[in-house]
């Protein structure tokens, strides 16, 4: 045992190797893992479920490649749910690096088998069922401008089509006609949406955030300022299971569980050896 501990202590790359193996094996051999649903994710699902066909939902992308592992599956799951319910989907990117990721998620969901028409193409039509505003400058100022007048400020979608000519935008002037905003975030944007979107204009807001941010968002959920909270990759897996479409996140959660077990084992192992060393030192026996 002491020999193993000495080896690990002198070369911590051994831990990296074990973690790598613990990740690779479950990825190669798919192992089903139960995903219990949290109240926070269920609240987001129930809010979306409560909307009527034709209602408009605005998906705000405020994340980047460094957080896409967790947030991208959330986006795809929520988008799929929205299209299934026949909602009008509006998307906007608050950060420049979020725009291509949002577009990619939109393309993956729109072109997926679930929404394929008999002719082979997607039955979801850009401009009729959904619209992508692309990246828009302004962060919190943008939210305030959208709250005043969306078509006047945005003018055209990402393809250059005028918003006032698009069927999907008919009747949508500002947040009064938006039934729900879902912000997918890896930074400060949930605060902006809570303060400016929900607080100033009264639009209902739910968020999907990285695991690191979950703890910061719970006060907003408890106070009712957020209508739902999807937390990290686990939240994405929960949402996938709620809409009965297990995909990327559900697979990743199984792998994640194995890595967590490994980390717990390493922490226990390290502590046991540490206390053994302490005791040995106290007894005057150098370990």
């Amino acid at each position: 045992m002491n020999a193993i501990w000495s080896f690990i202590r002198t070369d911590r790359r051994f831990i990296f190797l074990v973690v790598a193996v613990t990740v690779i094996v479950p990825v190669l051999v798919t192992i089903p893992f139960p995903v219990p649903v949290s109240n926070a994710t269920r609240a987001a699902f129930n809010t979306m479920e409560g909307l009527k066909p034709g209602d408009a939902v605005l998906l705000s992308f405020s994340y980047g490649p460094s957080s896409m592992a967790e947030v991208q599956p959330q986006v795809e799951a929520v988008m799929r749910h929205a299209f299934r319910k026949g909602l009008r989907v509006l998307t906007v990117s608050l950060f420049p690096d979020a725009a291509p990721l949002g577009s990619r998620a939109l393309a993956r969901v729109v072109d997926s088998d679930e929404f394929r028409s008999e002719s082979g193409g997607s039955r979801l039509v850009e401009g009729t069922d959904y619209v992508n505003f692309g990246y828009r400058l302004g962060t919190d100022t943008l939210i305030r401008r959208l709250g005043q007048n969306i078509p006047q400020f945005i003018e055209t979608d990402v393809r250059g089509e005028r918003l006032d000519a698009l069927p999907v935008m008919q009747g949508i002037q500002n947040f009064d006609q938006i039934a729900l905003v879902v912000d997918f975030a890896a930074g400060d944007s949930p605060d902006w949406w809570v303060v400016d979107g929900q607080g100033r204009y009264g639009v209902k807001v739910a968020v999907g955030v990285t695991g690191v941010m979950v703890s910061q968002q719970f006060p907003y959920l408890n106070s009712g300022q957020l209508a739902g909270l999807i937390g990290g990759g686990v939240g994405a897996a929960e949402y996938e299971n709620l809409i009965n479409a297990p995909a990327t996140a559900t697979r990743r959660v199984a792998t994640l569980a194995f890595v967590h077990l490994l980390i717990i084992a390493i922490v226990i192992f390290g502590n046991v050896l540490y206390f053994r060393e302490q005791r040995a030192a106290a007894e005057g026996d150098p370990a």
Binding site: R13, E70, P96, V195, S223, G231, G232, H260
Partner: protein
């Protein structure tokens, strides 16, 4: 499914750069340095290009053009298609004010004129305080205070009431921990220690979530390498 040449090339570049970055786990090396510098350069270039197309052109260049009545052939075509006529709109020249304010930020680099930077900084601070303070206090202070108190209406042994008690005790104890006007002894010290425990649990939760986040990133990159690059997983 066959991939285009550019897609295949992109996957190979992404895979090699991923391996270059993870090679740091072995030890620092030139491959890691190369990937790191490339990432910084590409990110900066991407952001500059995005800001040029999404900020400079629509909010600086186009309003100036409309203000002085300068229209390119493409502009005229688009106006004709939209059924509008081309004429100067002097009101658009108001954009000169924010342009000057923006340019004044660079005054700090001019010897002897550095004080000019105070003008845009003062404007930005004043505007954001004026617009933000009332609503931020309402949304992030008053509503949170309300949420910490109101659930006590439901003190009937339910889970909501238990949660409300934990939130209230945690809030008071954590605030006491940061209350330095009294010595942390006796009752104050005991409450402060409870506050420290709440803070430690909060930090532990945040750290656990951070570990989960980082592991998710690793899983995603491993999936990319095994699926897109090595084709060991079904697409």
């Amino acid at each position: 499914m066959t991939q285009s040449m550019s897609a295949t090339l992109g996957i190979w570049i992404a895979a090699i750069l991923t391996l270059c970055l993870y090679s740091f786990l072995y030890h620092d090396n030139p491959f890691y340095k190369f990937a790191e510098h490339l990432f910084v350069g590409v990110s900066a270039g991407y952001l500059v290009a995005r800001q040029y197309f999404n900020a400079f052109l629509p909010y600086v260049w186009e309003p100036l053009k409309r203000g002085v009545g300068y229209f390119s052939e493409r502009d005229l075509r688009q106006l004709t298609q939209a059924g509008e006529t081309a004429h100067a709109q002097p009101s658009e020249l108001i954009v000169v004010v924010p342009i000057i304010l923006g340019l004044l930020f660079f005054a700090q680099f001019a010897r002897g004129h550095g004080w000019l930077v105070r003008i845009p900084v003062s404007f930005a601070l004043g505007a954001s305080m004026g617009m933000g303070v009332p609503v931020v206090f309402k949304e992030q202070v008053y509503k949170q205070m309300n949420a910490a108190i109101i659930p006590f209406d439901a003190l009937n042994g339910s889970a909501v009431a238990i949660n409300a008690i934990i939130v209230l005790v945690g809030t008071i104890a954590a605030l006491t921990y940061f209350f330095f006007s009294m010595e942390h002894r006796g009752a104050v010290g005991a409450v402060s220690r409870v506050g420290m425990w709440f803070l430690m649990i909060g930090f532990g939760s945040a750290f656990g979530n951070t570990v989960m986040n980082r592991v998710m990133l690793l899983i995603q990159r491993v999936e990319f390498l095994l699926r897109e690059w090595l084709h060991l997983l079904p697409t």
